[in-house]
Symmetry: D2
Subunit: 382 residues, 4 copies
């Protein structure tokens, strides 16, 4: 019998479902060395927590994350709540010696993030921040190609995350459905929600960013607040564009918005190196575009790699179907959970750790500062 | 507490994994009225069955499907074994009054298929044949658009299923890895394995086929047999092309092969109607291509629908993520299981039933006869 | 000064414009050894001929092709009239010792085609049939890749030519706008008009076809005839599907229709070889898709070659712009004219000659016979 | 007989060929009210000028643009030389009362541009700057859709122009082949060469830009100079990224580079409006992507419009082939020439005039200033 990892999941919104689903899939698909056991789901609303527990097979439910985090029979605290609660829960979980899986972004700001890093490192607990897109097989493959040095000197890194779901002025801010529009809960708008993904991937693939120069905009200045019932100023960034310098000399260009009509969740990145270029697009997440200048001229062209092969060719795909049959968004959480379970089993940390996620937080914060100040801001890499 | 549906799964190969995974996902994602309980996994090799049971959470394992099917504490028999065993197991399961989920194709031939239909109908048990591609959300959406009459008179139906995994002459036939190349186990080659999917979808979307005219080929005439260890003639069809007439007056063109270099599992269909056309491609299964002649001329063009919206727009997608985030191949089995559980709960049958699958079997058999005879063959629609 | 080639062009419809445009572009773009001089345009309607002459820079116009063909001061007769006139004009031109550029298809039927071949070969005049798609740079590149043996053994050849312009029952048949629907003028429907292109390309790329098996359909059985003013039976094939055997052992699958809603002129081909596959699509004529199994597994994928490079990489493209800037449909006629001018200059024949075009005619005729008879028909390769 | 427009073309490089080709095509394809007559080609190298004259049908050649511009028998001066000569030639031509067709960018800088605008406006001569991409049919169609108000409030404008032809450090700067790398001849690097196109299109489609913030880079700092034979510092911008504000409140994001491996000439733009979005890509210039939020949810998706229809649906396409058959890069020069000939005939100016091109020049200059200063720069819209 495998060792059980007793899980307390805090939060049962959209991310809560994605995590719960992964607990159900990981054992069969990945045969990890330890097996999650769903002990308790925690949410503010008792009825909702109970219904979630029944549906997703948690043994119990609770409305107090403090009690849950303090329990002796919990090994892992999985934080799926809005951003403004990450720090407090993580600090308590670290103090209780629990392993921590925390949704992104790490924190509301860098100061909070530093505290969290200090806490997990002092406690010596395993930590993972859920930048799940790293574990799309095509994205992981891109990282492998980069690490093998196939790109040569990198000239450009480009990323965008475009959505269109907040264009209507009738959409409220705040509450469980629209907390991402409420700055006091979300911390920021597209920068923390969407660009954080782009930045995490970029730092991982292309190394540190040293300086940023940004512009933000809030297109709809007032929205009804779902909690107060009043029209209130919107304090998040609806859109953010920035360019930057990477330590390796390459130029970065990043953009995110929730006002790009026709794009549901278009996260793309492109890297242009001396020898080769890579592109990826979340809307076709199972493909990686690859252009290799080493190919013979007559037949040189962008290759569309259908990242569905096992046999060691494509990351994670040995565990799924046969070539040609893709996995979806949900699999990224299974992959990260599988990697985290292995890490916990071996007493290793698992990337991206809190410390790594803090670097993303620094860039996000610098981006917002730059947009406010209208000038370049250096990243504090210390 | 929900009622439990006690499951005996026969077979733990590739299809076995896809089914087992669906049992783990269906409750959380779909909240069906009854809940599967994984009682027993059955396979010829005891060690393999045991390992599978442990990994996928089956309560027990067995090497005798006969014993399993006869058990009183089983409600559903799930047949995931090679084609030559479908009939025998299904007949026994029907006799024991079990609901039956059977992998496709239904049978080795029409005669067997007729027996199976008679058995389940006599026993009055629920049946479903796993033509899982019907439940790709984009494919289900296509069916809805057709049923709403949006295409008008249909002129053409075109489908292909192209793979490239058997090009090497060093690939053996037979055994657990390559039983699909052994005619005595598989019944046929691409016709029963791949075209059966195309035909099932076509009959469902476009109505009965009345006549077929086919050509088949076996490119590699001899292969080592994994069981006998000898070079033996290959008796399956490596490739099959056929055209046909549908009852509604449209022309069909179908092709399948395992010798299409570069295509992993390219199942596509296209339907051309008077008012609109539809295309789909398994390699990008989350998209549906739609061309509507009613669109204004200046901005008319093929629409690429990213079939990931909930809110009633896209079938099954209310149960998954948010717009822009796709599901993969595995979800098709979750969808069919969810639908089957609802049907069982309500005492309804679930499409495609054994009877519907028999119609596909008839077309497959006629295709092979036509290729042998080199002439048109009528489909017996009685 | 370059030698002048004195041109008489017969016909000023759509093809007439494409040819006239090529005469204007070829000298600048290709610097051919001899230079076309536009002596006379010939058409039934004098006013139309005159307007065309003025617009396109022909020195004179005529309503009698017989007179024009007999003139001493003409070197090349360019036949751009409907199919039923090809033979008569070509026979007269050959007898007068003129070089002949003839629009496709060669003739109304094989018997006519044989006469035409005999005539040009007896007269020893240069001939070219305008299967212009051979000279799309991407298509020419495909031929080069095949000739270099990069595909290995070929398993499959697939082509289609899909249009949607005749779906309306209000479209008349006959007359200058719709002669392609009038069997007495066009000879056949999609088979001679569209499949002839597919077949020419296929024979050129993949060698002789030995047997065909076809199905045709006329969806709209009666149309008003623009000349007679009466409803008359439609005697052309609106759609045609056939499969076939090539001499090299590969299987062919061809389809054409004018009832594929949403497709304007979708000519595609795909060739699957042991080592590599090729695809092309007229709607994106500047691209060639290439899948090479020799590529390393992790980064193997279909390459989209943007066929716009000079420097010897891409056929004809040294004569145009810079990489990334595509040529269009019109360029195919420039390329064929440039090649023909070089051939005439060197006293060579230019492919596809009348003799080569006759092979296409034979396949077309066999396809129509097969569809009539409902059975396989062998191609007479003598 | 049509009135002749007597043309003197200055320059016979790549742009010279594109212009000469257009003179040959325009009359047949567009039947303009006046007809170009190729009087003289002018180039520094007499032999090259002579060869060009013979090949492209100019009546004479010259090595002195001053003499040519002063001739009484010239109506139009067509400036196809490197950027550093535009102003001087244009000023002389204006003074001689000639119509002027000038290659882009207008000038080396804003000061020069202002002089040129003053000169043509004082002289009252017709002027056109060759921002030819406006007249890609798909781009013109995009402008029509915008002008019809179909986008509603615009939130985002995004453009890029990516190439990869200067990555090799062995490429020299200067001389006839590489003058675009020599700042004293080209004025700037990608900003004036490539971003100028993006900016012209953006101003035309989306109105004035008010502020810019830019970053540039020169990746290869030294290159051999083809004229001096010495290694010299490279003073052009190899890459440029900028974001900006438009007067209409939308955000702009622009990027250009010649170091994007795998991209030959990837000019793209995308506009996100409240109701609809538009995308275009020079690599598939015959397509326009259109996403209309007004479409019904179930079948909403990006439409790929194949911009090849006549009948008034697609700009310029009535003059070419039939639906499905695309034009290429060369056609953009034919379209602009046709429009210019009509304007000259009617005594109208033709967009983009020198005055309009000056606005683009201002943005380019501000972009370079911003990159130097590392801060926002306002556009002087006076």
């Amino acid at each position: 019998m495998k060792r059980k990892l007793r899980v307390a999941q805090i939060g049962c919104g959209f991310m809560g479902r994605a995590h719960a689903n992964a607990y159900h899939q990981v054992t069969g698909a990945f045969d990890p060395p330890i097996e999650p056991s769903l002990e308790v789901i925690c949410a503010t609303d008792a009825a909702r927590a109970q219904a979630f527990a029944r549906r997703w097979g948690f043994a119990s439910h609770s409305t107090s994350w403090r009690e849950v985090v303090a329990r002796d029979d919990i090994d892992l605290v999985d934080i799926c709540v809005p951003n403004n609660l990450h720090a407090e829960i993580a600090l308590a979980a670290a103090e209780s010696g629990k392993a921590i899986l925390c949704e992104k972004p790490l924190a509301m700001n860098v100061a909070q993030g530093r505290e969290m890093v200090a806490a997990v490192e002092k406690a010596g607990v395993a930590s993972l921040v859920s930048f799940n897109y790293r574990r799309v097989p095509a994205v992981t493959l891109a990282k492998q190609l980069i690490d093998e040095g196939r790109l040569g000197r990198v000239f450009h890194y480009r990323a965008q995350f475009l959505q269109d779901w907040t264009i209507s002025p009738d959409l409220p801010q705040g509450g469980s459905a629209a907390w991402r529009l409420d700055a006091s809960v979300a911390g920021s708008g597209v920068t923390g929600d969407l660009l954080a993904h782009c930045i995490d991937t970029a730092l991982w693939q292309n190394g540190p960013i040293t300086r940023v120069n940004a512009m933000t905009e809030t297109f709809i200045k007032q929205r009804m607040h779902a909690v107060t019932g009043c029209e209130e100023p919107v304090r998040i960034d609806d859109a953010c564009v920035f360019f930057c310098r990477f330590e390796n000399g390459s130029l970065g260009n990043f953009e995110s918005t929730r006002y790009a009509r026709g794009h549901k969740a278009l996260f793309t990145f492109e890297i242009n190196g001396e020898h080769a270029s890579i592109r990826w697009d979340l809307h076709d997440l199972h493909r990686l575009e690859w252009s290799d200048h080493g190919d013979e001229g007559a037949v040189r062209g962008w290759r569309s790699i259908h990242v569905t092969d096992g046999s060691g060719d494509h990351p994670y795909m040995d565990h799924w179907w046969v070539p040609g049959l893709a996995v979806g968004y949900g699999a990224t959480f299974v992959h990260q959970l599988s990697d985290f379970l292995s890490a916990i089993h071996e007493g290793r940390s698992c990337s991206p750790t809190f410390r790594e996620a803090l670097e993303t937080q620094k860039v996000c914060e610098a981006v917002l500062q730059s947009a406010d100040a209208g000038q370049w801001v250096d990243i504090d890499t210390a």
